[in-house]
């Protein structure tokens, strides 16, 4: 493995080639908030909390550190005015969906007490749609029993019908879902044993 050197928040950091900016920072003890990241899973880049500023050939841009490859000579800033602005507002957006969850701590860190946005009444359960359950089931368990359905503002999590045995004996996705939402998944799994499903699937699907 080739070792590369990059600069994060003024510190020179050695990292292995092929790693991400997030992992390099974490290894050096620099904290970058994340919601949708899990070391066991492929980088996803959906929650955008881990955004940092990278500078290369004197050009700056904002990137998701969980996906951005660490490069030799890269200059990274994990705290700037714009990054604070992004994280604060993203936390407010999540608070408008759910008053509890991992984002609450991030919100506190960025001085957010209350969201300025109107609350979104979720028909099923507050869920940040981080996709950890979906990806854990697919990538680690190789079962593909949890999936996304719908697009845009209608996106939601559902269970693939017909896989109830798989789910009732596994339930490992419980551990990746942050506290406030686990009830939702429990509910869904219980539904599996008593069809028809109340999930977003129609019988013809």
């Amino acid at each position: 493995m080739t070792t590369i050197s990059l600069n994060i928040d003024g510190k020179t950091i050695k990292a292995e080639e092929g790693t991400t900016v997030l992992k390099a920072a974490q290894k050096a003890g620099i904290n970058i908030p994340t919601l949708c990241h899990d070391d066991r899973l492929e980088p996803y880049g959906a929650c955008r909390f881990c955004m940092v500023e990278v500078e290369k050939n004197s050009r700056k841009k904002l990137v998701a550190s969980c996906c951005y490859p660490a490069e030799n000579g890269l200059v990274v800033r994990t705290k700037t005015e714009n990054i604070d602005k992004i994280r604060k507002l993203l936390a407010e957006l999540l608070l408008s969906i759910s008053p509890s969850g991992a984002h609450v701590d991030i919100a506190k860190q960025y001085g957010v007490v209350e969201s300025r946005f109107k609350q979104t009444e979720s028909p099923e359960s507050p869920c940040s749609l981080c996709g950890l359950c979906v990806r854990y089931c697919a990538e680690v368990k190789n079962k593909h029993a949890v999936c996304f359905v719908g697009r845009g503002v209608d996106r939601t999590i559902a269970l693939v019908p017909g896989l109830s045995d798989t789910c009732s004996s596994c339930r490992e996705c419980f551990n990746v879902c942050d506290a406030g939402k686990i009830v939702y998944l429990v509910d869904m799994i219980q539904e599996i044993s008593c069809p028809p499903l109340k999930s977003s699937f129609k019988s013809s699907d």
Partner: protein
């Protein structure tokens, strides 16, 4: 038909075709593009067929169903060659007259000619119509000369000549250098230099390499890619084969929206013909170069036009974007180097090869070379597809070609670049239209959508419309796009409903900036453009809404209808036409609108012959509780 096994065979065939074609023979060319098709051009075609048969003229006259001519406002369009007479809004019942007067006597049918609204004069020749005269039709020009189902039509017009030149006289590197020198930039949105994209894929080490045509055009009101793919599919195929040769790809995909059935049909047909002629497949024209093309139909998601989402869709997965810190040009389809370009970009390639980079770069501006097709729609007299050199001003496009704003209204803004473009105010009418100029004033070229808006347009309502569209079309993967657009939509709804305050507007601005900075893909990053550009140029309209006024009197919650007692004659026409039974009054007495019941449909205003109905806006008016 036997396959051409060497370039010479194709050249000989071309010469035979050109000799067979009698340029003096009468040819009726009927536009069968989607616009004219919707105006029932097919019935005009049948009427011509019937009449020609009846009068025994079938052998003396050629007839052609062509692709879109672009002058969609005036469809169905019929052009008679070699006279070059152009007839507009042709109906089946006009056919007999065209045959007797034009086909048999060579004289134009006056009443079917286009009338210049300014001069009130009929224009006989197609080339003299201002809409066409002021354009430079490079890419789009052959559309009206070609039957899209006929590869021979394309070959006779020097089609596949650039491919022959490429395969016989140029190395892949020379092709690439030519495209780079031409400074061609991607016509699909971002304006990325095409040559550099090709080069990245060419130089990537992994194999195989892929090339893709992006025909997932989904912007409301935009249809240039559709018309090109439907009208002249071989020009796109030729560009794609040349690009594949330069890049070293042997497999290509054409991603066409399912909603474009004619484009799918014509593309598939064109591929089949090109395969039969040996222009696609193994050992093309004996050059040793192999290349195949498959059509992939899109399943209807707007976001699939984003390159990484499009590739996901071809792979058989949900069309969702992924971070592209490693470019798709290096790791795209099945993680292999993939070069994706828009329909119009590929169609430019044969012209560059045939005429040289220098010739191409002489058109347009130094950093935006060549021409661009725009779909000119909205409050403009000549709706249609317009091709102009880059750098032409908005004024030339809207007034010289588009014929200005209907009903003597004033122009308020032009929205360019599709739903995630920006609204450009009237003061920039003399701005040269190219990639950089549009970007600098907060809009973008996009794929070439151009929506003209007159003084009666509410800019807040426009921003609300586009944000609503995008919130539905966001894939929902990343938080800022999904939840950000949801909240932007909410705030805009509140503003247009007169329920918002100054701090809501501030929050909207802040949120727009955050979504722009943090969204995963270009859809989210550009989604706030309509909001930010309208706030920038039309802030007064937003502020008026906060005060409960809609200056353009569009937002229903902020307008009211009332009757001017001095003008009302008590005819009762408004009462009769009111669907909500909100108007009352004695016969011949002054009438009155009950604002509680009024649904603000505006029927009364339209039917009143005495201009007695007034549309007002402002806080003093009670807002309906509905």
């Amino acid at each position: 038909m036997t396959k051409f096994s060497q370039p010479n065979d194709l050249e000989q065939y071309r010469q035979t075709l050109q000799k067979q074609r009698d340029t003096k023979k009468t040819c009726i060319s009927i536009c069968s593009g989607t616009g004219c098709h919707a105006y029932a051009s097919e019935k005009v075609v049948s009427a011509f067929e019937d009449q020609l048969k009846k009068q025994n003229l079938t052998n003396m006259v050629d007839m052609k169903r062509t692709g879109c001519h672009g002058f969609c406002e005036k469809g169905p369009i019929v052009v008679i060659h070699p006279h070059n007479y152009c007839y507009v809004k042709v109906k089946p019942e006009d056919v007999t007259e065209i045959i007797t007067q034009t086909i048999q006597q060579g004289k134009p049918v006056n009443r079917l000619l286009y009338e210049d609204p300014e001069l009130g004069k009929k224009i006989v020749l197609e080339t003299d119509i201002p809409f066409y005269k002021n354009q430079t039709r490079l890419i789009f020009g052959n559309n009206r000369k070609i039957d899209p189902k006929s590869i021979d039509d394309y070959i006779a017009l020097d089609g596949y000549k650039a491919l022959v030149k490429t395969l016989t006289k140029m190395t892949p590197q020379q092709v690439l250098d030519e495209v780079k020198k031409a400074n061609l930039r991607g016509r699909g949105g971002g304006g990325f230099p095409t040559g550099r994209k090709w080069e990245t894929t060419k130089n990537a080490s992994a194999e195989p390499k892929y090339v893709i045509v992006n025909c997932d055009e989904g912007d409301p009101g935009a249809y240039m890619d559709r018309s090109l793919m439907e009208g002249n599919p071989h020009s796109v195929l030729e560009g794609l084969i040349i690009g594949a040769y330069a890049i070293g790809a042997h497999e290509g995909f054409i991603y066409v929206r399912q909603e474009y059935p004619l484009a799918v049909e014509n593309t598939e047909h064109a591929i089949k013909q090109a395969e039969e002629y040996g222009l696609i497949g193994k050992n093309i024209l004996g050059s040793g170069f192999d290349f195949t093309i498959k059509v992939h139909r899109g399943a209807g998601a707007f976001v699939s036009g984003e390159s990484s989402a499009l590739m996901s869709a071809i792979e058989g997965r949900v069309g969702e974007p992924r971070p592209k810190y490693i470019h798709t040009a290096v790791s795209g389809l099945w993680n292999k180097p993939t070069c994706l370009n828009n329909v119009e970009t590929w169609a430019n390639v044969p012209f560059i090869i045939n005429n040289g980079a220098q010739w191409f770069a002489s058109m347009g501006t130094p950093n935006s070379t060549g021409t661009k097709i725009f779909s000119l729609v909205g409050n403009v007299n000549n709706t249609g597809l317009v091709e102009v050199p880059m750098g032409v001003t908005l004024r030339e496009i809207i007034y010289d070609i588009g014929g200005g704003i209907p009903n003597g209204k004033r122009l308020k803004a032009v929205q360019t670049g599709g739903p995630s473009g920006g609204c450009i105010p009237e003061k920039y009418l003399d701005l040269p239209v190219d990639f950089d100029e549009l970007y600098n004033i907060g809009s973008m070229m996009g794929s070439g959508g151009m929506i003209v808006m007159d003084e009666d347009t509410c800019m807040v309502d426009i921003a609300r419309y586009f944000v609503n569209f995008l919130s539905q079309e966001s894939c929902g993967k990343c938080l800022p796009c999904r939840e950000g657009l949801r909240q932007m939509n909410r705030i805009l709804n509140d503003i247009t409903a007169g329920k918002a305050f100054e701090e809501d507007l501030e929050l909207l601005e802040e949120l727009s900036e955050v979504v722009q900075m943090s969204a995963l893909c270009a859809l989210g990053q550009s989604a706030p453009n309509p909001v930010l550009s309208t706030i920038k140029y039309f802030r007064d309209e937003y502020e008026a809404h906060l005060r409960g006024e809609c200056p353009s009197k569009v937002c229903k919650a902020l307008i009211n209808y009332k009757i001017d007692p001095a003008k009302c004659k008590g005819c009762g026409l408004c009462t009769k036409n009111c669907p909500a039974e909100a108007i009352s009054g004695e016969k011949k007495g002054v009438h009155h609108i009950d604002s509680e019941r009024c649904i603000k449909c505006g029927n009364c205003l339209e039917v009143c012959k005495f201009d007695a109905v007034l549309k007002t806006t402002g806080k003093q008016i009670p807002i309906s509780k509905r």
